[in-house]
Amino acid sequence: MANQPIITVKNLVKNYDDFQAVKGISFEVYEGEIFGLLGPNGAGKTTTLEVIETLREKTSGEITVDGFNIETDADSIKKRIGVQLQAAGYYPNLNLSELIVLFSGLYGINKTPMEMLEKVALTDKAKSKYKELSGGQKQRFSIATTLINNPRIIFLDEPTTGLDPQARRNLWDLIREIRDAGTTVVITTHYMDEAEVLCDRVAFVDGGHIIGIDTPDHFIDQLVATGFERKKEVKSANLEDVFINLTGKEWREG
């Protein structure tokens, strides 16, 4: 695969009233990959995402998304991307089918609710309200709403935070399926094990800067090459493997 950039960010700076959240970030996201933005809270991940998603004005810098400039073609970009926000709610008092119909209207696209809910295995919840769903179901529904407009890229902001191991692994599978169907995925997470198994490439963000960008494998190899060793000898399984082994892989409701 020739690494064709679908998102190009050059020297992005974002100032809020009293502080600089993003201090000159540059990176590229390649078409068809799962790209991870990693870093501690307040590093500037969400701000960076929201500028790319056209939800925030940048202070300076240059961004193109699928060939469109963020300044001049925000509307074309909005039609090509799917966005899942951290902790976003949905229109109150509506069930999942009605929400899908609403979003179809907002995107100007004809999709049946069942067609979308099927993609995230929520057809049996079509008549439920969003707030009645479990954590994992909520995230899957959010992802369904990002897919309505057949986006070229989807942005997922901490989609697995607060999920149990089953729901988390289930969501990984869903995200991989989406990537395999040709959609580029940009994701933020605090879980390094997740980034390691899920992301094709990751960028570390800290203090408003990018401090490294590579494949997870490369990063690990580089660290090992410096003579780094984990204090405890690595076993061929970890506690989460034990958890999954004991409680089973099936998806839990509730």
Binding site: L85, Y91, V101, L102, G105, G108, T145
Partner: protein, 370 residues
């Protein structure tokens, strides 16, 4: 496929309408409260003055004065209280007077004793003038009889001619219903709009909308459309219940209803401006009710919702006449009862227009999207 802003607007309107229908507070405030008020006040009834008169134990009930009082619709005679209870109630003003009459002895005056209460306001005077009327009639009858024997003519001091102009009966429902309609629109416009927008803002629903190609005006327009449709259906329902159950006057029938609905829409649009402003000022959902009450309560009390503004002292009338709901109510009553068209209430519409411009100027400044 070309992107359609109309389609996006209608999608929001439809979602919002479903959401309003499923929110209990919207339905209660817009429909249940006005109907309860109408039910209560329509049954208290128009011109409903009554004078409660205690009848003392042993009071003669066969004389013409008592009979005249018993036939009077305003006087309510109370006979089932003890003398002790009666005098206590008289002192409190819950009985307006106590009467006592000695049995009739032919050829002597009727001996009557009336106790009034300083605690019961004007009602004592009403009874007094009614009694004077009765006395005069009895006296006149006696005089006529005496004249029959003597042949001396006593000239009339007054030659009274009374006529009643035929007209439509102005029922209390004709007053209360437009007021309730106005208030229903005010609370739906202010509370409803403020709650919806602050909710959508705080739960990031609007932010998620902004990640779609939808325009800002589509969001506002869609929400407004849903609220207008809901409120007009509510108004129509209230008018129909008022008309068919309580005899609310609709002079030109369906034309009057349509004129009223146009007024409702105008009023609601202005009131929604207050809602937009509050949603911008309020920090969170719990600050919405106090802010909304600041807007709605004074108008509830001062805009002629329950009683006519003319009942207030002059200085308070100036305040009342500055409030938008007063003018919406006045316009609504003119249209409903006097059969005015929208062209006949331009004065009221003009003042509403000024309010509209002012409110939206503030709303545009204070409204927050995120």
């Amino acid at each position: 496929m070309k992107y359609s802003n109309t389609r996006a607007t209608l999608a929001i309107a439809k979602a919002s309408f479903c959401s309003i229908l499923r929110s209990p507070s919207a339905v209660v405030f817009s429909l249940a409260f006005p109907l309860i008020f109408i039910l209560v006040f329509a049954n208290i009834g128009g011109g409903g003055m009554s004078v409660d008169v205690g009848v003392a134990k042993g009071c003669d009930t066969l004389n013409p004065v008592y009979k005249a009082l018993a036939q009077n619709k305003i006087v309510h005679l109370i006979k089932d209280q003890t003398a002790d209870e009666m005098s206590k109630n008289l002192a409190k003003g819950s009985i307006d007077a106590i009467i006592d009459m000695k049995p009739l002895v032919p050829m002597t005056p009727i001996k009557m004793e009336v106790k009034y209460s300083a605690a019961s306001g004007d009602k004592g005077s009403v009874l007094k003038s009614m009694l004077n009327n009765i006395f005069y009639r009895i006296q006149s009858e006696q005089l006529t009889r005496i004249q029959g024997y003597s042949g001396i003519k006593v000239p009339n001091a007054i030659d009274l001619k009374e006529t009643i102009v035929s007209g439509r009966e102005y029922k209390y429902i004709d007053f209360i219903l437009p007021g309730q309609l106005g208030f229903s629109l005010l609370s739906s416009g202010v509370f409803g709009t403020a709650f919806v927008f602050i909710g959508l803002r705080l739960t990031l629903v609007i932010k998620r909308f902004f990640a779609t190609p939808v325009k800002k005006y589509s969001i506002v327009l869609g929400e407004a459309l849903a609220r207008i449709v809901f409120s007009l259906l509510g108004a129509l329902f209230i008018i129909m219940v008022g008309h068919f159950a309580f005899g609310f006057t609709l002079i030109h029938g369906i034309i009057t209803v349509l004129n009223m609905l146009v007024l409702c829409a105008i009023g609601l649009i202005i009131f929604m401006g207050f809602g937009f402003t509050i949603s911008g000022i309020a920090k969170n959902e719990s600050t919405v009710p106090p802010l909304s009450n600041i807007i709605t309560l004074p108008q509830f009390l001062l805009s002629g919702t329950f009683f006519s503004v003319t009942a207030f002292p002059k200085w308070l009338q100036y305040v009342s006449n500055a409030l938008p709901l007063t003018h919406l109510n006045n316009a609504m009553r003119k249209v409903a009862f006097e059969g005015a068209g929208l062209g006949d209430v331009t004065h009221q519409l003009f003042i509403l227009l000024i309010w509209g411009i002012g409110v939206y100027a503030v709303a545009v400044k204070t409204f927050k999207w995120e």
